[in-house]
Structure formats: C-alpha cells, structure tokens
C-alpha cells in the first residue's frame, strides 16, 4: 500500500475516523509509520517496550523528527525500555543518541531475568491506544485506539517495568 495513504489511515484510526477500529501490522516500514503517527498525535506520554529497538522502526527519519517535535514540549515524557540490544548497537542508534540529548526522553534496560519472562512488546500513546506484538520475536502487531481498559493496563504494567529497569548511559 502507498505509505502516504497508510499514514493517513493511521491518523484516521487514532482519531476514531477509520472504518475498521484496528490495524493489523505485519511489516517494519509500516510499524515505523504507526510509531511516527503515535508520536505525532500523543499529548503527554509515550511508552515503548522494545526487545531489539529495531532501527528500521525507531531510527526512521520521520520517527526521529516526530520524537524531537514531541519532546520539544517540556510537559511531555517519552519512556523507552529496551531488552536485547548490545551497547555497540546502542551507540550508533539514532533514537538512543537523540534520547541522550533530550531531557524528557529516557531509555532504560529491562533486567534479563524479567525480559526472559515477558513475551510481548508494545507501545502506548498517552493512555489512548497501543501497538501490541503478542510475540516479541515477530513484527506482527495489532494497533487499537478504542480499547481503554487494555491500554490503561498496558500503560500501568509498563510503569511497573520502568521502575525495575536500569537507566543506561548511551556509549559514546
């Protein structure tokens, strides 16, 4: 599908204007658009739990631009928990480096023993919607913005994970 059309479709989904109340996501380039649209439409908080912190998704030019734009508002907060990514990869990861330069974007690492038990990954936009991968080894995800109870539970669980995750210094 035309990516620009897809971008509009995700915007419609976020704003409750789409015919289907969900989007099934199966490719990295489309996942990047979803994340970018979430940042573009978020009001106060973005939460991201990502195993590999896949650069195709999270270091995409448009995503970085929206993260920067979102973070330019000091009342916003972006929390990113990563799991299985080496320091070497992190040192050249553009979003990790951007986070290092922005006070309200923080990256933490989930302890390995917890990471091994968490089989899913997800992103939560405010407490309004989510992109959820039920198997973190795959990119397949469901995106919804009409499921407040699940969204809130996911956000609250993220906050619990955040508390036990370790702050990291981005290697130079």
């Amino acid at each position: 599908m035309n990516l620009e059309k897809y971008r509009n479709q995700i915007t419609d989904l976020i704003r409750g204007r789409s015919r289907q109340p969900f989007m099934l996501n199966g490719s990295e380039e489309h996942a990047a658009i979803i994340v970018e649209r979430m940042f573009a439409n978020a009001n106060t908080e973005m939460r991201i739990l990502s195993r590999r912190f896949n650069p195709t998704i999270y270091a995409d030019d448009d995503v970085l631009a929206q993260v920067e734009n979102f973070a330019s508002n000091p009342d916003t907060k972006t929390s990113i928990i990563i799991e299985d990514i080496s320091d070497e990869s992190l040192s050249v990861h553009r979003l990790a480096n951007l986070a290092d330069a922005l006070p309200n974007v923080e990256v933490r690492r989930l302890p390995v023993d917890v990471s091994e038990q968490v089989n899913f990954n997800y992103s939560v936009m405010d407490k309004r919607g989510y992109r959820f991968e039920d198997n973190k080894a795959k990119v397949n995800a469901i995106v919804r913005f009409d499921d407040p109870s699940f969204t809130e539970a996911a956000a609250d669980y993220f906050d619990d994970l955040w508390e036990i995750s370790n702050p990291i210094a981005i290697p130079a």
Binding site: Y6, Q20, F22, L24, G26, S27, N119, D134, N140
Partner: protein, 192 residues
C-alpha cells in the same frame, strides 16, 4: 427483402458495447474485483502478508486468492464453494465474460457484413431466407449480444460488494484473534 439491414442500428450498438467491454479498462472486472479485495484488506491491515501468520486457513487463502485476481499472479487455492457468489465469480475467473463478448463481437461483425452485402446486392442467398419464426431469434440473439456486457457489469458490481464484505469480515475475525492473542500474552505477564 432481407431483414438483416434493419438490425444494423441495434448491431452497431452491440458492436460498440462489446468492443468497449473487451478493451476499456473500466470493464476489466476481474482486476476490479481483485482491487476491491486489496482495498478492503488495506482498511484493516498494512499488507496481505499480515495474514500470512494464518496461511493455510481457508478464509486467509481466500482473501489472498481474491486479492491476487487480475494481477497475473496465482493466489493460493481456496474453497469458496459455500458462498453463493463463488459461482458467478467463475464467470470472470474462467474468462467466460470475455469469451462471450468475443463471440458476440464476431457474430455482430458477421451480421453487419452480411447486412451491408445485402444492401448493396451481394450474397443475397446468405441468410436471406429468414422465416418470420426465425426473425425473432436473430433479434433476440442481437439483443443478448448487447445486453450481456450490461448483465456482466451488474454481476461484477454485486460481486465487488460481496468480496469487499467477505474480506472485511475475514480481516475482522483475525483482528479479534489478534486481540485475544494480545490479551492472552498480556495475561501471562510476569508479576513485578
């Protein structure tokens, strides 16, 4: 006097309609049905591959099969036999509509040529002996040649509605499965 020249205006219309049916892209209904399936799929997924996780399941095969119609690539086999609309769909997948149109066009050209020949006094013996009983058959045949592309258009329109509804329903079912999988995975989260 030959009655064939009297049919010429009708045959002319039939010729134009059938030629349009064969060559104007708007009438390429197989592609249209495939495009409708793809558009419906894109309303709930980013690509047909998202359903690949469930490939092998008949409804997914059918969605992929329908999306491949008119693209020149062969989609997976699927069993749509429980759907009423799967039968008229074969009119398009087996190219029966195009064959009918080609036959109609050939018949019309033949009739037009004979009609002109009769008008200028040639081949008077060819088809000249049409009895009163036979006249209406030729008229009906000519009418069918004109109407058949219009009937095909109506069938194709109905099929597009059915195909869209089928794809949206199937994608919706898999979204429910994905949502259930997400809830299950989240339900199995470790306590912190």
């Amino acid at each position: 006097m030959s009655t064939i020249p009297a049919l010429e205006p009708l045959l002319g219309v039939g010729f134009a309609v059938n030629l349009s049916y064969l060559y104007i892209p708007w009438f390429h209904y197989l592609q249209g049905i495939g495009k409708t399936a793809k558009q419906a799929l894109s309303e709930g997924t980013d690509s047909k591959d998202i359903l690949g996780e469930y490939s092998g399941e008949d409804s997914v095969n059918c969605v992929q099969y329908l999306s491949s119609l008119g693209t020149g690539t062969k989609g997976p086999d699927c069993k749509l036999f429980d759907k009423l609309w799967s039968y008229p769909l074969r009119i398009f997948t087996w190219r029966v509509d195009k064959m009918l149109s080609v036959i109609s066009t050939i018949f019309i050209i033949y009739m037009l040529v004979i009609g002109v020949a009769h008008q200028i006094g040639l081949y008077q013996s060819t088809l000249v002996e049409i009895s009163d009983n036979q006249k209406h058959w030729f008229l009906h045949l000519a009418a069918i040649c004109i109407i058949s592309p219009l009937i095909m258009s109506a069938i194709a329109l109905w099929l597009r509605v059915r195909v869209k509804s089928y794809v949206l329903k199937t994608v919706g079912e898999y979204a429910v499965k994905e949502k259930t999988d997400a809830a299950t995975a989240f339900g199995n989260k470790p306590d912190i």
